[in-house]
């Protein structure tokens, strides 16, 4: 279909020898005349001329002087646009082959002379793996692209890209516009190495931060050794830095890393930016946006359909609005074919985006001027200004009209014919008569792949057509169904699209053939207009954009609860028939017979009010739990990876939980930093984090950190003996690091040691996963050696054996109510643990480490009444005030006291009773969960899903493609969960 005219080759390689004939140096000009030329999306000229030579535009305008030796192409009635640019491409570079997993973990780099981490490869150069692929190029040219920025899509820092003109003529010497056209990055590990670190998104983020610090340090000549990676990174720091985020959430994450490192990334999004457009806008990041809109699900099987989530279904409905939403919010973005099965799908998907409201001008910008500008190549590509590459499209009309034909795509002055301009557009209805029979011929589809429908009277007759070299051939089955016979027609259109030629009748006789083209512009137009009109209702985005999300974020209210049993957790104890006033997000008053006219009054007679439940040990609402790639990962932080869309936030609210500590897992002795959040369902991830949050870090001991269930662990430590040495070593190093910093001598900023130094400096608290008494005792002794206290032992199932020592050390305990028997080290775990530690004067909390249990923590606390006779008031404190104390947030939360945050729960019954339900869960005066509202939301979800099923059925009936159903599986993360790991045992 696509043909390239080699004879029009302009270039000559002056200094190359010629052995195949005489030197041919074409110095002709080429001019496209009489066209509507889009010099830029906003600068459009009519009857213009585009003059170019040697692949570059010499002049463009309405009164261009055409030199003598000019090859002129008349493009009357045609449109000329700059060819498109795809700045996120792997064109010509083979997909890296995944290195098979090894039995044994690999902790060291596979190479030397480079950065210590294999996933950091700024020294890579796309061209070293580049092989021009003319088949791929043809597909892109056909889709309208002239230039792509290609790169090796592998690793975290992937090296520099190459800007390639899709010039099928000649060699790379002409196609390479730049071999230095941007530095590419991602959060994804390289598949060609097995080096463990990083295993998580948060690890990738921390690694990037450290690399930037190291590059800066290296640039000052402070390194004693050679590092080609850092040298390359420094060398390319002024290139556009293109980050593959791949989702709205990762846009926010990667932009944060960039901001902290003084870099504004240009970010590849995921097409889901509309879900939190304001946050995306706030990044100020230019974006590259894929338009791989999902097909409707095949919802005919109602059993399977019930497995679809509202979020999955909404994505089909809402995603096509994404480009429009981005444009409406003034976000700079380029479009890419990335994520599409083939560039052939691009046009159709772009048409969808336009149908959903993206303006044509924005679409054209996103394909031409914006990518050129983002690549800092506006002087070479992206428009049809003088001096730029002669990369342009000739079309039959408005390029974004579905009927428009792209005739030619010129790249570097080389012509690529997609559809012959000579082929007159004969699509439409034609009428003709043969043998006194009247026929109607309808021609439709792509001009090069015409489809026909021939009717005679009421009969539809079988027919086939080909349209090539401006000759139309028709094979037509006659009405005679017994003797299968054919009429063959060959004809050519005239300027009025009437066809003239001959028909060869079944009897072999020729007859003249003349048809009349029926001008049906009006009809066609109105049909087009109907097509263009959006028939699907676009469902509103909620916060978060899944089931149970809010249509509008709820606001803080002034609330007066009357006549409740109030569990203050203060010296007042439990107050009967008491009122609580909540104002401005805080507890304004507690007492009897309160009144406040502006407040919404809630009768709480017979009900109980407690402080919101606090879970010291949670792994919900996060995209990663473990960075397992090293034995210490103090540089990573859960704050980087909060997932505010996790429905477990809502479910925890339904269990009365208001604050949680999301801890790093227990894969290594020194884990990552925590996130302490409030469960403000609907808010953006960063708004969940406590303001001035106390700093915490996870440590871990025992079976998990010594990789007890690895068949051949090679990572130090493999014994409890080694665990101690890891700590002593790191604290010693952190001490030395501290001293070096204080000395004002130059030092390499090390994010890992920074966090560990904070521990020694008492600025960061340890919450340590622990089970057996020996190791508990050990960590306390190590801490004492370095003159600080362990803040919390979490799990601490043998805490009861060393409660006296813990008391002496001054550490708190956050334990399970009754878990045991899941591994060897919990053999002596007893449900009386909390009671004994409490009796010995420790601050005791009960935690969940589990998305199900966390929504019943009041019940877990109640078990302490059974196991060890703890008083009910104290038991409730195990899941409210005590975890608040352990987390150093008890100034704000954990008890009901005037002036504290209004984080409260209204219970239907005694809060420690198995029969109690949370009726309202309130954070800072905002009702995030309400039993009554929950009922309404359920009905709303059902309704919306039925609506979406109907829309999808309609789409299928209309003949649109559908996709098979996939079941979204909730991933429940635990202490030892690893990103991307599918099957795992739960070992807490």
């Amino acid at each position: 279909m696509l043909s390239l005219l080699c004879s029009l080759s302009f270039y000559a390689q002056d200094y190359f020898p010629t052995n195949n004939g005489v030197a041919k140096n074409n110095t002709n000009y080429t001019a496209i005349t009489n066209a509507k030329i889009f010099i830029t999306p906003t600068n459009v000229i009519k009857k213009g001329t585009l003059l170019f030579k040697d692949g570059k535009i010499v002049n463009v305008g309405t009164s261009v002087r055409i030199p003598k030796s000019t090859y002129i192409i008349d493009a009357s009635g045609k449109h000329v646009y700059p060819s498109f640019i795809d700045m996120y491409s792997s064109f010509g570079i083979e997909k890296p082959i995944r290195k098979p997993r090894q039995q044994t973990q690999q902790y060291d780099a596979s190479r030397t002379g480079f950065y210590w981490n294999d996933h950091i490869m700024p020294e890579n150069n796309a061209l070293t793996k580049f092989k021009y692929n003319s088949k791929q190029a043809k597909a892109l040219i056909k889709a309208g692209f002239g230039v792509v920025n290609t790169h090796i899509q592998n690793g975290i820092i992937r090296g520099r890209g190459a800007l390639i003109a899709l010039n099928n003529n000649g060699g790379n010497e002409r196609r390479i516009i730049s071999d230095n056209s941007g530095l590419y990055l991602s959060l994804n590990r390289s598949v060609t190495t097995n080096q463990s670190y990083p295993t998580s998104i948060m690890g990738s983020m921390a690694l990037l931060r450290q690399v930037y610090l190291d590059a800066n340090w290296y640039s000052k000549g402070l390194s004693k050794t050679k590092d080609l990676s850092l040298e390359a990174l420094n060398k390319h720091k002024n290139l556009v830095q293109i980050m593959e985020a791949g989702s709205r959430a990762n846009i926010i994450r990667t932009d944060k890393v960039g901001d902290q490192s003084g870099i504004q990334y240009t970010i590849l999004g995921g097409g889901d930016e509309y879900e939190r457009i304001k946050d995306v806008k706030a990044t100020n990041a230019p974006l590259i946006i894929p338009i791989n809109f999902p097909d409707a699900y095949d919802v005919e099987d109602s059993f399977l359909t019930s497995a679809l989530t509202l979020h999955q279904m909404r994505a089909w409905n809402q995603k096509p609005t994404n480009p429009k939403v981005l444009a409406d919010h003034g976000i700079t973005f380029a479009l890419t074919t990335h994520g599409l099965k083939s560039p052939g799908k691009f046009k159709a998907n772009l048409a969808i985006a336009l149908k959903y409201g993206l303006s044509k001008a924005k679409a054209l910008e996103a394909l031409t001027t914006i990518p050129a500008q983002l690549l800092k190549k506006s002087n070479t590509i992206g428009s049809l200004k003088k001096g730029l590459l002669a990369n342009f499209l000739i079309t039959s009309g408005d390029i974004f009209d579905e009927k428009t034909i792209i005739y030619e795509n010129w790249v570097q002055g080389e012509q690529n014919i997609i559809e012959s301009m000579n082929n007159i557009d004969i699509r439409g209805d034609h009428t003709f008569s043969l043998d006194n029979q009247k026929y109607t011929l309808t021609l439709k589809g792509e001009l090069s792949k015409l489809k026909s429908e021939i009717k005679s009277g009421k009969d539809i007759l079988g027919s086939k057509v080909t349209y090539k070299d401006h000759w139309l051939n028709i094979t037509l089955k006659t009405k005679d169904t017994i003797n299968k016979a054919f009429i063959r027609i060959v004809a050519q259109p005239d300027a009025n699209k009437n066809l003239k030629g001959k028909a060869i009748m079944p009897n072999g006789l020729d007859m003249p053939f003349i048809s009349n083209y029926k001008k049906k512009d009006d009809v066609v137009k109105s049909k087009d207009a109907k097509d263009k009109k959006l028939t699907n209702k676009i469902l509103p985005v909620t916060y978060p954009n899944n089931a149970y999300g809010f249509n509008k974020l709820p606001k803080a209210e002034t609330l007066l609860f009357k006549n409740a049993t109030v569990w203050t957790n203060e010296k007042e104890g439990v107050l009967e028939k008491t009122d609580i006033l909540i104002k401005n997000g805080i507890i304004a008053n507690i007492g009897k017979n309160l009144s406040y006219s502006k407040a919404k009054t809630i009768d709480a007679t017979g009900k109980h009010i407690t402080a919101g439940i606090i879970d010291e040990h949670s792994h919900i609402a996060t995209a990663s739990v473990n960075e397992a790639g090293q034995n210490s990962t103090a540089e990573v932080t859960i704050e980087d990876v909060i997932d505010e869309t996790d429905v477990n936030i809502y479910r925890n609210l339904a269990g009365g939980v208001t604050s949680i500590q999301i801890l790093h897992g227990s894969a290594n002795p020194i884990g990552g930093r925590s996130a302490i959040i409030k469960l403000k369902w609907g808010e953006s991830a960063n708004n969940l984090i406590y303001k001035n949050s106390p700093k915490f870090i996870k440590f871990a001991l025992g079976e998990n950190v010594k990789q007890s269930r690895y068949s051949n662990g090679v990572r130090f430590p493999q014994t409890r003996m080694g665990v101690e040495q890891v700590f002593v070593d790191y604290f010693s190093r952190a001490k030395a690091y501290n001293a070096l910093k204080k000395s004002k001598k130059p030092y390499r900023k090390d994010l890992e040691l920074e966090a560990i130094a904070e521990i020694i400096n008492k600025k960061r608290f340890i919450s340590c996963h622990s089970y057996i008494q020996s190791e508990i005792n050990m960590l306390m002794k190590v801490a004492e050696q370095f003159n600080f206290n362990v803040n919390t032992f979490t799990h601490i199932l043998e805490g009861y054996k060393v409660a006296d020592k813990m008391k002496a050390h001054g550490v708190g305990a956050s334990t399970f109510s009754d878990w045991w028997a899941y591994k060897y080290e919990v053999n002596d775990a007893i449900p009386y643990n909390a009671a004994i530690m409490h009796e010995q004067g420790l601050i005791v909390a009960i935690n969940s480490d589990d998305a199900e249990m966390s929504r019943r923590l009041n019940q877990e606390a109640a078990k302490s009444v059974k196991y060890g006779n703890v008083s009910e008031e104290d038991a409730l404190k195990f899941v409210t005030l005590n975890p608040a104390k352990l987390l150093h947030i008890d100034q704000k939360v954990g008890s009901l006291k005037v002036g504290k945050d209004a984080d409260i729960v209204l219970w239907t019954d005694h809060p420690l009773s198995i029969y109690a339900k949370a009726e309202k869960t309130i954070i800072e005066g905002v009702t995030y969960f309400d039993l009554e509202k929950d009922k309404k939301i359920r009905a709303q979800i059902k309704k919306e899903k039925i609506q979406l099923v109907n829309m999808m059925l309609l789409a299928k009936n209309k003949g649109l493609k559908t996709q098979p159903i996939k079941k979204k599986e909730k991933k429940y993360l635990h202490c030892n969960s690893i990103d991307n790991e599918q099957h795992k045992q739960h070992q807490h």
Binding site: Y822, I836, Q859, K863, L912, K945
Partner: protein
């Protein structure tokens, strides 16, 4: 000081000697429990009751109006203000088959291979498991020990939780065959580079046909032949000597499994798990199929589900007159099983009455497991397998057992855990005494 040392040595010895609790001897003397609220297990209660236990059986149960008891012939337990319940029963349990999840050497719950009807859980049941003994203080006294894995996991037996060995523990031997119905969704083999997402199981029909053929083959098999142990073991489901426990979650699977049982003329089928049983209530009801419902304390299957779907599921079925029992399988299932009463309690917060909830873990379970002639309720003539609690046994705060009996034997309520509790409590008590008296 010397004395103290001696005591601790003594205690250490004791704790080694008494690693497990000693099973109680046969009941000799009659026992009367007087004044308690008796929760019968069938939905009724008797306040201020009297229960007389003779030869391991409930001899009398009724209102305690004027008890005339001779203390010399009978042990009288004054249980005024307390509550008596039938021993709780847990179906579909792996208690005694695994001691420590993470220690492979202690794991005996799933044999290799897909079709293991002849595999018998009973003989691997560790009557001396430290986890089993920890059931008793919470009132869980009977369990169905169930093999796991494969398409046909094997054959289960019902045991009581106070015995020297599996033979003594057995209540009903080889009572049921456990089949894992083909899943509606299957996962790509991610380690081979396939998309790991759950997709409709394209082999579903094939797997159902295979299972059906296996049952047809077993049906045709000569029961006196001895050359195919698996077929032989399957045969029981056709002559009602074994129940068929169909482990199935999705609505479609449940409906198909019911059709399968009908087609194969299997009269005694039980749905186990049944995550989506609430969607199939009418078919379950018409066909009289009981459900052993998955762990109440579970997260919903889908993001969109009601947050309390697992909590209220039992109510949704009970309201349709479906016979429901509760099970606790899943993550950490063995140690979690002692929370069975609280799973039942949760169903009360979500709609059932307390006595209905109690039925789920007593009489209903007994009927489903086919042991209701002897167990499951406080009924004259039934086994005296019951316990006394200080208060409401479905609530954590008041589930505090003073006595438990299995077949009239007064069961020891100490465990590895209570011993450690007492040992360390004592340690601190003495230590603190020393501190306060210098």
């Amino acid at each position: 000081m010397k004395k103290l040392k001696f005591t601790s040595i003594l205690m250490l010895c004791c704790s080694i000697l008494l690693a497990q609790q000693t099973p109680a001897p046969k009941q000799i003397k009659d026992i009367a429990i007087v004044g308690a609220t008796a929760h019968i297990g069938n939905g009724n209660i008797i306040e201020n009751s009297i229960i007389i236990i003779k030869n391991g059986k409930i001899d009398t149960i009724g209102k305690s109006e004027r008890p005339k008891l001779n203390d010399q012939d009978i042990n009288v337990i004054n249980a005024k203000g307390k509550h008596v319940y039938p021993g709780f029963i847990v179906p579909n349990s792996t208690l005694g088959l695994i001691e420590i999840d993470a220690v492979k050497a202690s794991v005996d719950n799933a044999e290799i291979g897909a079709l293991n009807p002849n595999i018998r859980s009973l003989i691997a049941y560790n009557a001396e498991s430290k986890i089993v003994e920890s059931m008793r203080p919470n009132g869980v006294l009977i369990g169905q020990i169930t093999p796991r894995g494969g398409r046909i996991s094997g054959t289960s037996s019902v045991v009581q939780f106070d015995a020297w060995n599996w033979e003594d523990a057995a209540v009903r031997i080889d009572e049921g065959l456990h089949v894992n119905w083909p899943k509606s969704f299957s996962r790509g083999r991610w380690w081979l580079g396939e998309d790991p997402a759950l997709k409709p199981n394209k082999d579903y029909d094939k797997q159902v046909t295979e299972l059906n053929n296996y049952f047809l083959q077993s049906h045709a098999y000569d029961k006196n032949a001895n050359n195919h142990l698996p077929f032989k073991a399957t045969k029981g489901v056709f002559n009602d000597s074994k129940k068929l426990y169909m482990h199935v979650d999705y609505e479609k699977g449940i409906l198909d499994a019911i059709a399968f049982a009908k087609k194969n003329n299997i009269k005694n089928m039980v749905i186990v798990g049944g995550r989506e049983a609430y969607k199939a209530t009418s078919t379950l009801k018409i066909n009289n199929i009981p459900v052993i419902l998955q762990r109440v304390h579970s997260t919903p299957n889908s993001d969109d589900d009601d947050y309390d779907i697992s909590y209220k599921h039992a109510k949704l079925l009970v309201d349709q007159d479906i016979l429901v029992a509760l099970e606790t399988s899943g993550d950490m299932e063995r140690m979690n099983t002692r929370n069975l009463p609280f799973h039942a309690g949760t169903t009360v917060a979500h709609g059932l009455s307390k006595e209905q909830a109690l039925q789920l873990i007593t009489l209903n379970a007994a009927i489903i497991l086919g042991i209701d002639a002897e167990y499951g309720s406080l009924t004259q003539g039934k086994s005296a397998t019951l316990f006394i609690s200080e208060g409401d046994a479905l609530d954590m705060r008041t589930n505090i057992l003073t006595h438990a009996f299995i077949d009239g034997r007064a069961v020891n309520l100490e465990t590895h855990q209570t011993k450690l509790w007492k040992r360390y409590s004592k340690k601190y008590k003495e230590q603190n005494k020393l501190v306060s008296k210098p």
